[in-house]
């Protein structure tokens, strides 16, 4: 399987049959770059999506939830996704909602489809007036570019990944190809976000397309499961944006019988490719976390259930004290112990907790490992990539989970303090 992360050349991206891409510079902000992307999907494309749980979700999220439900209810296609960078259309009330609906209507006119077959995504400043006229003015040109010969090639995917960037310092794309029943199947995705951290700018958006034919009843739970193991398992600072959205597009263009049940034996191979793409996109977001200098993997084992493990992993991942220690390459490991103690359930028997930093045992039997030395801890802390492994000791062969995060640096403060100035 070929999987490429943030491809540096167009050779690394496999286009997906049935997907056309058109990016334009609509001047959503006062900048010189593409900032509106149209993804046109062939008729017959099945959509799935996972949205932010933030109660103050943005207008596009409200509209997309409606449109996805409508498509599934009426067995209709997703025909286009329109994404803009520069303005989140969040906290914009009834007017913002009308702007999102109007974008769908005008796109539907271009594609000669129902407005409900269109979805929209926005990312940028919250509560700013949404520049609807600029966005609408860009749609015809975006549509035209979709239908140029170059609208389906690998370069169009990279241009698409660039058009949706905000504070991202690198564009994010990943691609995988697997063979199922002798048929090559492609999964390609793009994403933006510098860590789900910038609610006013760095919303996480992800778009993953495949030519595999998949029924909605399979596609939706599959995408959610994959999102839980990827986009929902990375974190920079624990803030969930008002706009976070992952959309899956199954064009069904591959000459293979569709996945119609979750019991299909072909599902596991496809899911592996999908998860690889999603995970690499998600990890690329963490690696591009604002000010990040280190990539941290936190694995928690020995819990009674996954949620229990996840609570602990996220507490460690979010602790500013743990994160600044990683930034400083300081083996100040009591901070990890403290974070475990804050998140673990009351039933935790601390005398059974074990902690490793890569291969270095730090805590055994709830106390310092006899073999631990400051030098060994320092050696691991100096690395750019570090794995923290925690065994809660609550259950033999218990549940486990993994999350990925980054450190907290001076640059994080600078980027977030100075962003709007």
């Amino acid at each position: 399987m070929a999987v490429c992360y943030t491809p540096s050349t167009v050779d690394d991206v496999f286009p997906v049959a049935g997907i056309r891409l058109g990016a334009v510079a609509a001047q959503i902000k006062n900048w010189q770059r593409n900032d509106v992307l149209m993804i046109e999907c062939a008729p017959g494309t099945t959509a799935a999506a996972v949205f932010t749980q933030n109660r103050f979700c943005a207008a596009p999220v409200l509209v997309d939830r409606e449109h996805l439900a409508w498509q599934h209810q009426h067995n209709k296609s997703l025909r286009a996704v329109v994404i803009n960078a520069g303005n989140a259309n969040a906290g914009t009330g009834a007017l913002g909602l009308e702007h999102a609906r109007r974008t769908c209507r005008e796109t539907a006119v271009l594609l000669k489809c129902a407005p409900e077959e269109v979805m929209v995504c926005s990312t940028g400043v919250i509560m700013g007036a949404f520049p609807i006229d600029k966005l609408l003015a860009g749609l015809p040109e975006a549509f035209r570019r979709c239908h140029e010969a170059s609208g389906t090639n690998a370069a169009a995917w990279l241009a698409a990944a660039q058009a949706i960037m905000t504070t991202d310092t690198v564009h994010k794309a990943a691609s995988a190809r697997v063979t199922i029943d002798g048929v090559p199947i492609t999964v390609t995705g793009i994403a933006k976000g510098a860590g789900m951290i910038h609610p006013n700018m760095a919303t996480m958006l992800g778009f993953i397309a495949t030519d595999m034919p998949i029924a909605a009843a399979v596609w939706q739970p599959l995408l959610r499961e994959v999102a839980d193991g990827s986009f929902n398992a990375v974190t920079v600072d624990g803030d969930t944006s008002t706009n976070d959205t992952l959309i899956g597009m199954a064009t069904g263009q591959a000459k293979i019988s569709p996945l119609t049940t979750l019991n299909d034996p072909r599902l596991s191979v496809f899911k592996k490719a999908l998860l690889d793409v999603a995970l690499h996109l998600a990890q690329a977001i963490v690696r591009d976390g604002e000010g990040a200098t280190k990539f941290i993997t936190i694995r928690v084992e020995g819990g009674r259930n996954v949620n229990e493990c996840r609570e602990v992993a996220l507490k460690v991942a979010h602790s500013p004290l743990v994160k600044t220690a990683f930034f400083a390459s300081d083996p100040n490991l009591g901070r990890i112990v403290c974070a475990i103690g804050n998140a673990a359930p009351p039933e935790l028997d601390v005398s059974r907790v074990r902690l490793w930093l890569d291969d270095v045992a730090v805590i055994v039997d709830g106390g310092p490992a006899p073999s631990y030395t400051e030098e060994a801890g320092q050696r691991v802390m100096n690395q750019p990539e570090i794995t923290v492994r925690i065994d809660l000791g609550m259950k033999t062969d218990g549940a486990s989970t993994t999350v990925w995060t980054c450190d907290l640096s001076h640059d994080y403060v600078s980027i977030n303090a100075d962003y709007r100035s």
Copy 2:
């Protein structure tokens, strides 16, 4: 009522009859300063205490819980508290527990009391070997100083506040005097902590003494209620230390009949004085938060219950994005909206949410307030003290709560990244 915060002169502190204080330099760390404090309480002193909920709580917390239960069960006194700065005796396993017990035993020998009548508190680096010999060597001199003439004066209280400091940049003390039934009653406290944020160093410790006679059955729930409205309502970064402890000491030396029931009509006046002292100590911790440049009050109203309000208030208080915006004096208020959306229950009707920054309406009816201007927002953000008021609109005359926090600055990262170096 005279309440003084971080008194600059001894005139601002009212000593408490029945309390003796002795601070010594025991070299717990390699520094030149007092780092062990003995607080000796007169026979008949009733203790109450509130401890960290961290599951990896330190050895002194485990011992103190036992001793407090023993005192209450056997109707015995608290006779002494021994506090050391420089080492937390946390993550130290069975040996650390024995060191805490031994400190109690040797103190009990000096005071000729039961070891269970002694409590211990430690603050400093987690997982470092505990220098028990240095601590024990300092106890006789600390005891001797308690019995000097100066061991009970206001200067002894200030010296005590200084002896328990770690990363604190100012010592913290507060004092109140009220008259109940014509009898002057004193409440005086000291605290340390730069924001409950430094699990390896800036544990929150608080010690509040009063000459009011109070039965344990009243003192314990009263102290807990006051802690919830003060120490548990301030936060710098959401990390709860392994050692956080608040101990209340009621010496009963005032010539007044004791508070023996929660229905006592005199309770409200006393509670007001106690809360004032606790709140001023707690707020002093936030003001001294590592790198803090702003003091933020977050008030949440209109919830269905206090917990609901508290969840929202703490999410806003802990959001690194909100905190960096305050540091930058940037009216980037979408970040507050986003934090509300992350913490509020699914039943939140965003169209009813209102938000103010001091007197400036920011959000009404779930959207931007028509009267809001960037200039008005900027004016408030420039202030060193700012109040964020959020009406969830979930219930008319609903529950409310207030928490206090500070901003997230470059210095926070520096202090926490560089601390051990």
